[in-house]
């Protein structure tokens, strides 16, 4: 029996042997792991737990997973979850992106796709109502993200029109694709979609590149899977939208108001590689973007009333033709203030460049900012880089971003991501790794989102990143704020947007989940059993990577304990004692021991008994 909201099948694709199979999962597995991040973690556990420690994220045997969830497309704000063993954290990240691809793949009859192996030649996967097929992609390999999308839209539409000439006009397909950064296996590269959206955290663009997959494309004319209680779902759908229409700040500005606000207001915005978190630059105010670059003020993904996206375009000057979204706050910060860039035009340009190159707009420029601080401190020199790398120098960052994407010169080292680059630069310079790691803003290798903890005025606090199984991922922090553990994990499993969860109450969201699936799911059951099950399994795999030392690495970067040097919260910093205390409370809540190792009785309670044998050696 297939529960409501699920298409019922998954695609299992062995690229090495060119074998495509349909597989199914038992009802119990779906109920226990729900979808998206949960299902991806379960699949990884079942398939590669034995190989986990030695397997690199870029090895062919690492499964690359695209997963929808039962709520995808039905609950407002459709997203896809991309996962696998992360080549950045060596654990599991459920990396989500808003895209119609999620809707299209689900309606073709598949809840998700598992790729293993490596294709001998570049290919893309096309899934339609006629079935799945691998299509030669040599002509697309090497193209930037934008051009890839333009060509794919044309090519797939032509294919479908040729096959079904009588049915009328074909709409554009949904697609996920790579830019050059993914192709060249830049470790923290993202999987792109819709020109400016990305599954960024985790580095799954490089995993996709390692398998020679340029794109994954889907188009369906079928309907959504049936839900368990259609009348209830309809009512809840209307209620959810009625709440979302009230989220007026996002509709008006997206998150674009934070480029100014998170600096000037809450002192939690990265400035020059987090050396400061305060600024008072009105030049980066959202009104400047609105007045000069926004060509569309309301743009939404499928079934979303929130409309947090806006389309920016530069029509004159050296960056003529650059198209991206707001840019949203994360990219205002990481492609702006964190590089010492405070003017909207340069910010739109760097954001567009990240999209085109396929760099994650948070993680890629985190590494650029890291390099710039090493330059500021004289550790990296003009000779090492090939040019001067001063804060605010757009041309220099533009050049370095290209070098990273194509792994040229120092770019080859930076393409390993901030954490790994620190070790390589230490080796190059004959320095100790600690001397370089202290400027690396990451947790578990995952470069941290643009929300600081020192002022304690943002939604991120003490252990938000330190305790998270997804490290620096700002969309899935461990606790606190509206993205609390149970919430964020649920949205990633659902799979839908955290921003469409902002407005409707959690009670409404879980009622919706029950109406769709028919599972006896409640906020309480998720918080006490299902959520912890998924996070505990992620924790086990993170431990089994043997890359992160318990407690020592369950911590913020050193910089987050330096006092803020400027602004209204000058002198404030993350409270070390509170971090230690809350870390223990977090472990205790989840039933992990004082070093964060899941206890046997917890594993038994969560039906994760087979995990215990792997945990024994991590316990003291």
């Amino acid at each position: 029996m297939i529960p409501g909201g699920y298409a019922g099948k998954w695609l299992d694709i062995d690229l090495t042997n060119n074998k495509i199979e349909d597989i199914t999962f038992p009802y119990e597995t779906l109920e226990q792991f729900f979808g998206g991040r949960g299902m991806a973690t379960k699949i990884l556990w079942d398939r590669v737990a034995d190989k986990w420690t030695d397997m690199d994220g870029l090895d062919p045997e690492n499964p690359l997973i695209f997963a929808t969830g039962p709520m995808t497309g039905i609950y407002p704000g459709a997203r896809i979850c991309v996962s696998g063993k992360s080549p950045v954290s060596n654990g599991v990240v459920g990396s989500t992106a808003a895209t119609e691809f999620a809707v299209e793949i689900k309606n073709t009859g598949y809840d998700g796709i598992i790729f293993t192996g490596k294709s001998p030649e570049p290919v893309y996967l096309l899934v339609t109502d006629d079935g799945p097929e691998l299509v030669d992609a040599k002509h697309l390999w090497g193209l930037d993200g934008e051009t890839t999308l333009i060509k794919l839209n044309k090519e797939v539409k032509e294919t479908l029109t040729k096959r079904h000439p009588n049915v009328g006009l074909w709409k554009a397909p949904g697609s996920m694709y790579l830019g050059p950064a993914g192709e060249n296996m830049v470790r923290n590269a993202c999987v792109m979609t819709k020109i400016c959206h990305a599954a960024g955290y985790g580095g799954y663009g490089s995993v996709m590149g390692s398998k020679n997959i340029k794109a994954v494309v889907a188009k369906s004319r079928n309907m959504f899977p049936k839900v368990d209680a259609p009348e209830a779902a309809k009512l809840l759908w209307r209620k959810a939208h009625a709440e979302l229409i009230k989220v007026s700040d996002f509709r008006r500005w997206g998150t674009g108001h934070l480029g100014f606000g998170a600096g000037a207001g809450t002192s939690s915005e990265p400035v020059r590689n987090w050396q400061e978190e305060w600024h008072n630059e009105t030049a980066i105010g959202v009104n400047r973007y609105m007045d000069r670059f926004w060509v569309k003020t309301k743009w939404a993904d499928f079934n979303c009333t929130t409309n947090c996206m806006k389309v920016s375009c530069i029509k004159t000057g050296p960056y003529k033709g650059d198209i991206t979204d707001v840019p949203d706050y994360e990219l205002q910060a990481y492609c702006g203030t964190n590089l010492g860039i405070f003017d909207p035009e340069s910010n739109v340009h760097i954001s567009t460049l990240m999209d085109k190159l396929g760099h994650s707009g948070i993680n890629g420029p985190n590494t650029l900012g890291y390099a710039a601080e090493l330059y500021q401190r004289g550790i990296l020199t003009e000779e090492d880089i090939g040019f001067k790398l001063e804060w605010g120098d757009v041309e220099a960052f533009d050049k370095l971003a290209h070098m990273m994407a194509y792994r040229e010169g120092i770019g080859d080292i930076l393409a390993e991501g901030t954490y790994r680059a620190a070790f390589k630069i230490a080796e190059m310079k004959g320095m100790k790794p600690e001397e370089l790691l202290k400027y690396a803003i990451h947790v578990k290798g995952i470069e941290i989102g643009a929300h600081g903890t020192r002022s304690d005025k943002d939604y991120t606090h003490d252990i938000s990143y330190a305790a998270s199984v997804q490290g620096g991922d700002h969309t899935s922090t461990a606790v606190d704020g509206y993205n609390d553990m149970s919430g964020a994990v649920f949205y990633d499993c659902g799979v839908f947007c955290t921003f469409t969860a902002r407005g409707p109450s959690q009670a409404l969201i879980f009622d919706f989940a029950k109406a769709i699936t028919g599972f006896p799911i409640t906020l309480h059951s998720w918080r006490s059993v299902t959520g912890p099950r998924i996070v505990t399994l992620q924790k086990a795999l993170l431990l089994m990577s043997n890359m992160w030392e318990p407690i020592k690495d369950d911590d913020n970067p050193a910089r987050f304990y330096e006092p803020l040097p400027s602004g209204p919260y000058k002198g404030k910093t993350t409270d070390r004692e509170l971090v230690d205390m809350k870390l223990q409370a977090y472990f205790d809540t989840l039933g992990w021991d004082e070093r964060g190792i899941p206890k046997k009785e917890t594993l038994d309670r969560l039906d994760l008994g087979d995990v215990d044998q792997y945990m024994v050696k991590y316990r003291l």
Binding site: N107, N166, K194, I195, S220, I245, K296, T305, C313, K320
Partner: protein, 143 residues
Amino acid sequence: MWPEASRVRVFMPFPGVEVPHLCAQCQDYPCIEACPVDALSSDPDTGAVIVDREKCISCGACIKACPGSVPYLHPGDNKATICDLCGGEPKCVEVCTEAGYNALTIVNEGPSIHRKLYSRDPVETAKDLAVKMFGEKGEEVIE
């Protein structure tokens, strides 16, 4: 939900460039003219094109005759599908109001030769919109 069964179709050949696509009720109704089995007629009250699903033979002649290729074959029964204005009480207007957008309202206007101008291939419309949005770059984003 069944996005591809909606009589109001939204095309997005490039991200951000969205074109709603539906019947504009041409004064001369080329689709009705083209139907070989007289399955199409116009509603005398609303002007909407009505499809007799029993008679329709799924030949696609109406799609070819339409200046905007508006009709499509329904993914369920494979019959020609055209916006019927919900008999004069369009659901799209209702839901838009309920959702709080208030972007759609009912406008009562008689037949006009200009209606036909709005029956246009959505990708062609999108190409024009792209130029309006992106300037010269707009020429390149939709192939």
